[in-house]
Every structure is written in C-alpha cells, then in structure tokens.
C-alpha cells in the first residue's frame, strides 16, 4: 500500500478525487475531524428509527401482555388495559432501542472494533488523529498512483507491505 500525507484537507480531497477518477486502486482517507464536504449519506438514522419503533412497540406490547394476560391486577378499579400509563415506559424503551441500534450499527458499519490494521505499521498513521491528513491507496497500478500523487505535492509518501 502507498501512504501519503498532505498539508491541508483540500489537498487531501483533491488527490483522493483524482486517484478515484483514474481508477488506480482502492483509496481511503484519514483525518482527525469530520470531512468538510462529505456528500455520502448514512443508513444509520433510518436504522435508528426502526430500532426506536421496535423498542417502543415491544415495550408497549410487553406491558399489554403483562397487565391483561399474564398478571391482571385491579388497581383502583382501572381497566386492565390502561394504555395511557404505558406511555412513559414505551417512550423510554423507544429511545433506548434507537440509541442502542445507532451505537451497535455504527460499530458494525465502521468496522469496529478493529484494533490492528496493516496501515498501523506506518508512523505516518499516527498523524491523522492529531490533526494531519493522510491518504492510503491499495494500488492496482503502482506507477500510476505514484505519478498521480506526485502531481498533488504531498508532504510525504511511503510504500509499505499490505
């Protein structure tokens, strides 16, 4: 793999776009904050909505089953199916379901936990989370990658084994 570091986020973005347009290998960018112009969406908000609906529905049905079928109990003459009193727990479980889905879903989609990766062998990979801008290419055409990168004036490039 070829690892290059850049002085600015703009420089990193241009080099990544150029490499992708030339289709010379798989490209991954690394930086210590959210990318500025990330246009790609995420499925996780929709998944969180589903998780929330599942948590809320499950919580509501659990209360219905408990109070009407499994353990009906006369409390001050109120009906067994006293749905307004189920609302608070339903809401809390809906929020919990959504947040847990988002958290677990994020770990799955972001590929975490992932404690070791071959890119870690390069000292350059200690820069991104400290404010640096690094790009990793898994080249299908090494020469083309080197040529393309040199056109974008990286502050350092190295090649390591995958």
């Amino acid at each position: 793999m070829i690892i290059a570091s850049f002085a600015t986020e703009v420089g990193l973005g241009k080099a990544a776009t150029d490499l992708l347009s030339r289709n010379v290998g798989r490209v991954e960018t690394y930086l210590g904050m959210e990318p500025q112009n990330d246009q790609e969406g995420s499925v996780l908000p929709a998944a969180m909505l589903c998780g929330g609906l599942a948590g809320g529905t499950g919580g509501f049905l659990m209360q219905v089953w408990a109070t009407t079928i499994s353990y009906p109990l006369n409390i001050g003459g109120r009906p067994d199916f006293s749905w307004p009193s189920y609302v608070p727990a339903t809401f809390e479980l809906a929020v919990l379901g959504a947040v847990l889905t988002g958290f677990i879903g994020y770990f799955v989609l972001a590929g975490l936990p992932h404690l070791y990766d071959p890119v870690d062998e390069s000292d350059r990979m200690r820069q991104p989370m400290q404010g640096g801008y690094v790009l990793v290419v898994y080249p299908s055409d090494r020469a083309a990658v080197w040529n393309t990168l040199s056109a974008h004036a990286p502050i350092g490039v190295e090649e390591t084994e995958e």
Partner: protein
Amino acid sequence: MTAMPVIAPGETAQSMTERICDITLREDKSVRTPLWWWIAFGLSLSLLGGGVVSVLWLFYAGLGIWGIDWPVAWGFDILNYVWWIAIASGGTFISALFFLLGVEWRTSLNRLAESLTLCAALCAAIFPILHLGRPWFFYWLFPYPNTMGLWAQFRSPLVWDFFAILAYVLCSTLFWYFGLLPDFATLRDRAQGRGQRVFYGILAMGFRGSNRQWRHYRPVYAVTAALMAPLVVSVHSIVGMDFAGAAATGWHSTQFPPFFVFGAALSGFAVVLLVLLPLRPLLGLQPYITARHIDVLGRLLLTSSLCVTYAYIMDAFSTFYGPDQADRTMFLIRVSGLYAPVYWGTVILNGVLPQLFWWRSFRLNPVLTWLICFGVLVGMWLERFQIIVTSLARTQLPSSWGQYTPTFWEWSLLFGTIGLFLTTFLLIVRLIPIVAMAEMRAMLRRPQ
C-alpha cells in the same frame, strides 16, 4: 456590547491538541500530576470511604439506622436521589440541546458537562436501590420472566422512573463514549509509553479517522443528541410524577413535571459552573473555555432561576385559587411552620440570589459566580427537603403528623455520594480529554 470569543485568538488545532493531551498524557515527564489533584482526590476518597462504611452498616443493620419512619417514609434517600438526578441533567441540556441549536460555545463544554452527568447519575442511582430495604432484590424491577409469575406494576410512576433512569444512564453513557472515540484515538496515537498506547488503543476500538468511520459518525451523533434532549425532559417529568401520582397534600399537582424540569436545568447549569470555574485555571483551559462560556452559563442559570421562581409563585397562586383547604394549610405550614427556614432558604437561594446575574459584572466575577452556584445547589437540596419531608410530616389527618430528623448515617451517605461524585470526576479529568478535541478541530477549521 463587544462579542467575546469562544476560543482565544491564535489557537490552532495543533496547539489545542497538544494542550488537552498533555493534561492526560503528561508528555513532559518532569511535569507530574499536580498537587491540587492529589489533595482533592485524597479528600474525595475519604468522603467516599465514609459513604462505603455507611452502606455496609446499612446492609448489616437495615433501614432502621435511618431517621425515616411513619409518616415520613421518604427521607434523605429519595431527597438525595432527586437532587443528584437533577444535577445530572445539566450535561445533557448543554451537550444535546445546544448541539441541536448549533451553538459554538457548546463545543468546549460538552465533554466536561457530559462527564458531570455520568458522575451525578451514578450517585443518583445508588439511593433508590438502597431505599428498597432489600437492595439485593433490585432486579425485581426488571420485567423479566420469573417463576413467581409476577410483573412490575406498570401503572405506577415509580416503575416509569425505573425505565426512565435505566434509559437515561445507558443512553448518557453511550453518548459520552461515542463522543470520546476520536479523542481516545488521538491519545493512542500521541502516547509515548506502551501502557498508555494499549490502554487508549483498546478504548479507541480501532478508530483511525477513516472516511468510512466518519461517514456514519455525525448522523449517529446527531440523531442521538436529538433523542437525548426529549429523554432528559421525560426523565425529570417522570421524577415529578413520582410525587404528583400520590394523593399527598402538596404533591398532587399537574405542575410538578415541568417544575422538576426547571429545577433540573437550574441545578445542572449550577454544577457545571461550580466545577468549571476552578478547573479552568487549574488545567489551563482559559484559551478554550473563555469568559464567553461563563457569561452564557450565567445567563442560562438566570433563565432557569426565573422559571423555577415562576413555579414557586404558581404553587402559591394555585393553592389559594383552588378549593382544597388541606393544600392551603400545607402551604401555610411550609412558609411559617417547623420547616419554614427550609422554604425561605429555597426561595432566597434559587429565586432571589441568581437575580444578581442580570448584571454582566456579576456573571463574570468568578468568586461571586461560584458562591451563587453553590448557593443554588444548596437551595435545590432544600427545595427537595421541603417538598418531600413537609408533605409527609403534615398529612391531611393531624393525628398522623410526625417529624423527621436525619441520622448520622443518612448524612454520611450523602457526603459519601459527594465523595463518589468527586472521585469519579477527578479520575475522568486525569484520564480522559476534558475538551472534545475532534469537535474543536472542526470548529477551528471554520473562520472565527
């Protein structure tokens, strides 16, 4: 009025990263953990030790060591629970609500505020469990299949409370940890020693700031923040309903849910300021937590104080506007009876004293602000005392009137939880970045 900056001029992403990491990693080996930290930690541990002894004695001797009895069956246990859980809310208000509003000053404060939330929620969670009398059966509150064929009573606000606290503690912890992932990665990559690299490497879970990892990060964070904001309101509404649901004089009021939310905001902002003011110079955070932050928090504290004062006025108004003679008697007992100093202490500390924050010079005076915030926290504790104890001590039937005097073991448990709060917070200050570095970098990228 001149706009104060949210970050000191000249600060860069690199200088900020170095400064914040240095607090945790102590990269310069000649700079040891400061003496103030060890002194504070020692004091906190001794308070915590007293609390542990108190809990062990409680387990051995039972609830009889507390001053609770008939008719005051809820005393320090519920009082301190409500007080702590309200303190916890400040972090969520700052972190979630102001994230949704997109305010910049929130970025330097959110980690500190969220950490305070966790520490306070931990202290709050102890009391309902100890109060059960047989705390080892606390899991009976979970709706789990059991051979007894029993279920929790879902019509009771006390069970709603269990769900609320469970959801709040879990969601707050996940939200806090999720925000920390990129910063743990920064510490891992910056650490020199192997032990530190392994420790922060495990906590970072392999976060490297790749495009794939960032793409899903912001949406999850934003949706979680959008859920945390109504969650914190629901938690305090349900705490209010714990009381409003009972047919006790002084409790049975539809005003209680919003009243408790106002109180939570007031004590939450107060504790953030209370901790922030000494921590700012001690950790050298002045470039990131500027006078602007203190000014804004002072205004928020004033606003929530006005809301709480409105609730106090409405309490008096609705009591005398309504038809219930018992309610009127209860109110008169509160303002002129045995516990009258508690009522007036509440009004003065929560309603009158924060009015000084109408003046900017008061808001920007650290000593005065600290004293007012301390007063607010005492005032909020007194408010819970007058709500819980007075209503129970003076029931509708005068022949059942009683009195409540907390015992040594109740006081030691209260101070024990203060020790727990300070111990956990000091450990957080020492071991994790107290400013959200990844968010600060994104903020510094924008033109100031």
